[in-house]
Symmetry: C2
Subunit: 150 residues, 2 copies
Amino acid sequence: MEKLSIEEETVVDNQGIDLKKKIKNIFGHLDPNNPPDICPIRDVLAPVTDKWSILIIIFLGVYTTLRFNELKRHIYGISSKTLTERLKLLKRDGYVLRKMYPEVPIRVEYQLTKFGYQYLEQLLNLTEWINSAMPDIIKKRHKFNVIIKK
Amino acid sequence: MEKLSIEEETVVDNQGIDLKKKIKNIFGHLDPNNPPDICPIRDVLAPVTDKWSILIIIFLGVYTTLRFNELKRHIYGISSKTLTERLKLLKRDGYVLRKMYPEVPIRVEYQLTKFGYQYLEQLLNLTEWINSAMPDIIKKRHKFNVIIKK
DNA sequence: CCGGATCCCCAGAGATACTG
DNA sequence: CAGTATCTCTGGGGATCCGG
């Protein structure tokens, strides 16, 4: 592999310059020989960009407060186990708040934290964008083969 | 589950109103009893928000053009098999361009498409945000238990 | 040699059943 | 109701092979 530092890299156009500067500011750790202890993408971002986490955040954004089984019904297809796991992780990292009411039967409510709402805004930008791009993507998939969701 | 349409939902504050309107505009398909054929999040967005896809997009954004093994070295930890898979999917959906030069030894170069650059911008917003939030998240994890990357 | 394809293996995700 | 427990099985890693 040729050694290309970001500085030496030839830049194609202004958009390229902007993007690369932005990336450079974000990542001091692009060197694979010197990986950071915790990678922002691998270890912090990616754990909450799976489909279930995204859907959880969005539905809590719509309904403000949801109980466990309400969430489960909204997010069709998710299993109890996976929902529990995702909620635990989202709580651990501060996206989600869990309130337990020791009634009979027990009641547990989930809400977004302030930080969770920040993430929701990010996700809405993403989903807005993917919605506008979706028709083209579907066309490409049809040309490529069939629908192939995965 | 109580039947809560977005309209009936009591709204807490202005931020809430804005977010919910945005969501409502994006999703006509929030009804779990009437799931769409193709879910924008499950089937279109989520397949490219895994850690490897994000890293591929970002590195192609930094270096403009990368060969297969260059990419593999930059994205430490990825296997050939997974890299191949992700690249195929990213190509299929129009994020990535593949150029093959039938030299000896063979040379294959990958680049972002225009659409790929659009996605890169989205991802940079996300990573910028996660970078600013990372210190707090790490603190929360320490309190919670240990570092727990996953 | 490069860019994969193939095969085997295992951790982790998901389906189902069950419990405090 | 809100989860666990159990089982299954797929997706991803590692090693090897291969066509150009």
